[in-house]
């Protein structure tokens, strides 16, 4: 009897799936965590989600913008959010709200008058709430809908509705909290529309603690909660960058092998240059196999993309005056017409800057009716642009120098430079910094690796959002896991601080294979660093390498050392030009100073252990080549530094069970 019930008719089958067919299992798409990473800057925001390819990708909002201006404008009955709102700054400046993120969680009395916005809606003291920042905007409120017609109340009953009356002009008071909620809600909606399902978690980036304090973070969390976002974590911008730069996708190993580029080492010192519109943040980060901490950081609010904008606006204004003989005074502009022209130019140069960043040719700037009804079209090439921006570049380089000096590090210690923020896209900045800050020749920058343009992983404008998304996915996995341990770890994330305090090594540990090669004279052997300095404890590192052995004794011997790495600066006279045909040139060369050349140095600090033993699994190299006939064995050396600073070294011959094994313990 029960069997027959399975016989669904063909017509009913489409409505009710025939029993026996498996229920639709979760496909690969549903495995993607519905989370969003939000880079919430003061000037621009960006959002990133996990796409079908399983990568965190920055997505565009409804206007097609990946860099969404943090702006809200009111015009009549309409409300504009994002880049549309920015356009309103030209004609409707007093109803446009920009730069609200930095005001979040601040009291009115805490904001000095000099920081009040001049080109957008002014901030006022909230009329009702004490010491609260508010914006007052003029809006048109829709008139209340007329009462429904009723046969009883009107003498001549009509079915035609009474037309609505005109909307009523009124003012609306918005607190910074309200503005943030509106903005975050629009970001959330963009992400949900893209994914087609509700977002369950979000990670939002915030500036570092000394500029964006605990109170402000609380205010941001409250606003995000009201906007419908489940905030998993507020990430410092540096942390968000590291979240992305420690992935295999970034470092270029694993499946996502970068074309041509070498995979980055797992241990590296990263310099994060966050050059936004309004401020410069620098972080020197020590990345050790994914674990990372900030060695030093600096925040310079006076340096930013806005300064470059000023220069560029002034350049184009001068060009306009030259072309049209119409006076245009900008930066700062006093007359209303000049102010409006400046606002128009500022909007137009966004495009110019992006073109400069993306392509080597000249970038144009066109504004219709810039002043007195005259249109303007001008162009700027990269060289001229870099000349204009040179003071800002120099300021960034100086800030880097100051930071490195404070961290007692040398520019040569920096293994990788990461640029963040719209201004970080400028190739001129990279080339200037590499020269002026004195990085190594082989320093890894996104430009050198060619991962900036064309939506590469190194795109400075989206790094933070994608890092946030990657982190959100991790936390989402923890949150959905039902293991007790995962729950506790998630709780540790919320509690924060305690677990983040770590001990770290101060000097590099490694092994030395003694030999008499001339290039190793400095330390008397081949030095292999295993545990780099500035590595958080506890730590375990394993290296594998081939060790040559004598045919007879098959002896494997090495010493465990702690070393001090340093930089030696040497002044070298520049090589003389080989052809001395031109006398003038020779004169110039003689006047030149000696060039500073930096070398890495090693100094043995302490001998910790010595390992010595016969290899059991050595093999002789066959075939041709320099190594022919030599004996080698492959060893793995494991270093474990405990939380208290005790060291365990294990040397193990690999390839068989009967290999040589030597263990040494160095007490703390």
């Amino acid at each position: 009897m029960s069997k027959l019930q399975n016989g669904a008719s063909s017509r009913g089958a489409s409505a009710t799936p025939a029993p026996g067919t498996p229920t639709p299992a979760t496909g690969p798409t549903s495995l993607l965590p519905p989370v969003v990473g939000i880079n919430f800057g003061n000037s621009y925001a960006s959002i990133a989600v996990f796409t079908k390819e399983g990568l965190a990708e920055s997505i565009a909002n409804e206007d097609g913008e990946r860099q969404i201006a943090c702006a809200i404008a009111f015009h009549g009955e309409e409300m504009y959010i994002g880049n549309q709102a920015k356009q309103q700054l030209v004609k409707n400046a007093k109803n446009s709200i920009v730069g609200f993120r930095n005001l979040l969680g601040k009291k009115f009395s805490e904001v000095p008058g000099s920081e009040h916005p001049t080109l957008s809606a002014p901030i006022i003291q909230h009329p009702d709430l004490a010491d609260t920042i508010a914006y007052k905007v003029e809006v048109l409120q829709p008139a209340p809908s007329p009462l429904p017609t009723s046969a009883y109340t009107t003498p001549a009953a009509s079915h035609a509705p009474t037309p609505r009356s005109e909307p009523i002009p009124s003012t609306r008071i918005l607190t910074v909290h309200d503005v943030t909620v509106i903005f975050l809600r629009s970001l959330l909606k963009s992400a949900e529309d893209f994914l087609g399902k509700p977002i369950t978690g979000a990670v939002i980036s915030v500036p570092e603690a000394d500029t964006f304090g605990e109170k402000q973070r609380e205010a941001l969390k409250a606003a995000a909660k009201e906007a419908g976002l489940n905030v998993l974590q507020l990430l410092d911008e540096a942390a968000a960058v590291v979240a992305l730069t420690t992935t295999a996708l970034w470092s270029g190993d694993g499946e996502e092998q970068q074309e041509g580029g070498e995979p980055l080492g797992k241990d590296r010192t990263q310099l994060v240059v966050d050059l936004g519109a309004s401020a410069l943040s620098l972080h020197l980060v020590s990345v050790r196999e994914g674990l990372s901490y900030v060695l030093a950081s600096s925040h310079t609010p006076s340096v930013g993309g806005d300064k470059i904008d000023d220069k560029l606006v002034a350049f184009f204004a001068a060009d306009f005056t030259k072309k049209t003989k119409v006076a245009l005074k900008v930066c700062p502009a006093t007359a209303v017409a000049d102010q409006r022209a400046e606002a128009k130019l500022r909007l137009a140069i966004e495009h110019t800057k992006r073109t400069i960043s993306a392509s080597p040719g000249a970038a144009t700037c066109s504004v219709e009716s810039l002043k007195d009804g005259l249109d303007y079209t001008g162009a700027v090439n990269r060289m001229r642009f870099d000349m204009l921006a040179s003071p800002i570049y120099a300021a960034v380089a100086d800030a880097i120098g100051a930071l490195l000096a404070r961290a007692a590090a040398d520019a040569h210690d920096v293994d990788e430079v990461v640029y963040v923020g719209g201004t970080g896209c400028l190739p001129g900045l990279d080339s200037r910094l590499c020269v002026q800050a004195g990085f190594r020749e082989d320093v890894q920058t996104p430009f050198a690796r060619g991962i900036v343009v064309g939506g590469g992983v190194g795109d400075p404008t989206t790094i933070i959002a994608r890092g946030c998304a990657a982190q959100a996915a991790l936390l989402d996995a923890l949150a959905t896991s039902d293991a007790q341990e995962d729950k506790e770890i998630l709780a540790a994330f919320e509690a924060g601080a305690e677990a983040n305090q770590v001990k770290a090594t101060t000097k590099t540990l490694g092994v030395l294979f003694p030999n008499n090669l001339p290039e190793n004279r400095e330390v008397g052997g081949t030095w292999i660093p295993v545990v780099q300095r500035e590595t958080a404890l506890p730590v375990r590192r394993i290296v594998a390498l081939d060790v040559g052995v004598e045919e007879g004794s098959k002896r494997v011997a090495c010493e465990v050392w702690e070393v001090v790495e340093g930089i030696r600066t040497e002044k070298v006279a520049p090589p003389k030009s080989s052809d001395d045909e031109d006398d003038d040139e020779d004169d110039e060369e003689e006047e030149e100073e000696e060039v500073e050349v930096k070398h890495r140095t090693l100094a043995k600090h302490a001998l910790l252990a010595a390992l010595d033993g016969p290899a059991q699994l050595a093999v002789q190299t066959k075939g041709k080549g320099a190594d022919r006939g030599r004996w080698f064995t492959r060893v793995e050396i494991q270093f474990v530094v405990g939380i208290d600073g005790d060291l365990n070294v294990e040397l193990r011959e690999i390839g068989g069970a009967e290999g040589l094994v030597q263990r040494v313990h160095v007490a703390a």
Binding site: M1, K3, L4, G7, A8, S9, S10, R11, G12, A13, S14, P17, T21, P22, P24, A25, V242, A243, K266, L291, S292, Y293, V294, G467, L474, L478, A483, E488, I489, A492, A497, A499, N500, V502, K503, A504, T505, T506, K507, F513, P514, N515, N516, G525, P538, R540, I542, V543, A544, L545, G548, E550, R555, H605, A610, D627, W631, F632, I643, V666
Partner: protein, 404 residues
């Protein structure tokens, strides 16, 4: 397990004169930065592992390794089955025999659409999603563009080397499209399902009553699948099954009730003769249509009769019916016995005889009475006729006199 950093260097052998230095027993690694000097950035899987290490495994790497391995195994077990790519709702892959691939799209009416789409194992049970998936699969495999690109035809002669011989090989693709067209349209699909070739085959070798009796086949094992086969045509679902030997009286009655009132959606439009669309002879068309209609009605009638015959046969052979009848009889008798064990039976016999006689008498009397009544009525009729004649004659006489 921690990742092993493989270095691509080979150190030269240790010099024979090398003597290992004596390690001072007091040697220690330099004091690390104290806790609090460095603050980890709380990001990345490495940080989560660090938390695990410090919170749960008391900084022991071996304990963490064990935990992570266990976790990996658990996840592998969890996702092992459904990790095999996209779910195809059980459509699967079916073999494509030569004769299937050699189908002629012109003869699409005769092809088995389910077999073409690789749904032979589901047939009428396939739902719309499965049909969609099956169609996609087949199209991906048999699209003419794809065929042209991946031609594997071994050239039969040297002259044809490199010449693509598969260019015009979209016959099966057309069959696929046709099958999809039919199965995707609920009405067409119903018509096709009505005359599903596999069903017709099964219908062919349906057992007859004689067979069952002569071969002494098991009633339930023989007829159960037959009813199951037919149940697909019922508009009302679910359909009660044949049941088993111990089914209750209600179940058995319910079963026969349902099958005697079987409401079938089966129809026979699929077997219609093609109306010759090209011809402009309206009569021709109408003739064909009319013929089709009557043919359909005939087939439907046959179908109903067949099913009715099947149910009749089942009812006749059903061992449960005999049992139920027996039980009913026994129950009745037991009831009667309980009321008045002996008298009831005798009285009824006498009464019956008396009643019979009475009835016979009454019938006889009635007959006689009828005869009398009939004779009477004849006489009256004749009298009436005579009277009427007389009256007419008198009237004529009066009229004649009046006129003269």
């Amino acid at each position: 397990m921690a990742t092993v950093q493989v270095l691509s260097i080979a150190t030269p052998p240790v010099p024979a004169a090398y003597k290992p230095p004596s390690v001072p027993s007091t040697s220690r690694i330099s004091a690390p930065h104290p806790s609090g000097h460095r603050t980890l950035l709380p990001v990345g899987p490495a940080y989560i592992n660090h938390l695990r290490l410090s919170l749960h495994h008391s900084h022991s790497f071996s304990s963490l390794d064990k935990h992570l391995a266990a976790e990996r195994d658990r996840l592998a077990a969890l996702h092992g089955e459904d990790n095999a790519g996209e779910d195809d709702l059980g459509v699967g892959e079916e073999e494509e025999p030569e004769e299937l691939l050699a189908l002629d799209p012109k003869e699409w009416k005769k092809q088995d659409h389910y077999a073409v789409l690789g749904l032979s194992h589901l047939r009428y049970k396939a739902n719309a999603d499965q049909i969609k998936i099956a169609h996609r699969k087949k199209v991906l495999k048999h699209h003419p563009d794809k065929k042209a690109a991946t031609t594997t035809a071994v050239p039969s002669s040297l002259f044809l080397t490199g010449v693509n011989q598969n260019t015009n090989d979209d016959a099966f693709f057309k069959c696929i499209q046709k099958a999809h067209e039919v199965l995707n349209n609920p009405e067409k699909r119903r018509q096709f399902d009505s005359v599903d070739p596999v069903f017709l085959e099964l219908e062919e070798d349906m057992p007859t009553a004689a067979e069952i009796k002569s071969k002494d086949l098991d009633f339930f094992k023989t007829l159960g699948p037959v009813f199951e086969l037919y149940s697909r045509f019922s508009k009302a679902q679910p359909v009660p099954g044949l049941g088993h030997i111990d089914s209750s009286k209600e179940e058995v009655e319910g079963f026969y009730d349902f099958w005697y009132n079987f409401d079938s959606w089966r129809s026979f439009e699929w077997l219609d003769k093609e109306v010759n669309e090209g011809s402009d002879s309206r009569d021709d068309k109408r003739y064909t249509e009319k013929k089709n209609k009557s043919e359909r009605a005939r087939r439907k009638k046959e179908d109903i009769a067949k099913l009715r015959g099947l149910v009749d046969m089942a009812l006749g052979l059903d061992p449960r019916i005999k049992r139920i009848k027996q039980q009913e009889k026994e129950a009745r008798e037991a009831k009667k016995k309980a009321a008045n064990p002996a008298a009831v039976v005798k009285k009824t016999k006498q009464q019956e005889e008396e009643e019979k006689k009475k009835a016979e008498l009454a019938a006889k009397e009635q007959e006689e009475a009828d005869k009398v009544a009939r004779a009477e009525a004849k006489k009256q009729k004749a009298a009436a006729a005579n009277a009427a004649k007389k009256a007419r004659r008198q009237q004529r006489a009066v009229e004649d006199g009046g006129a003269a």
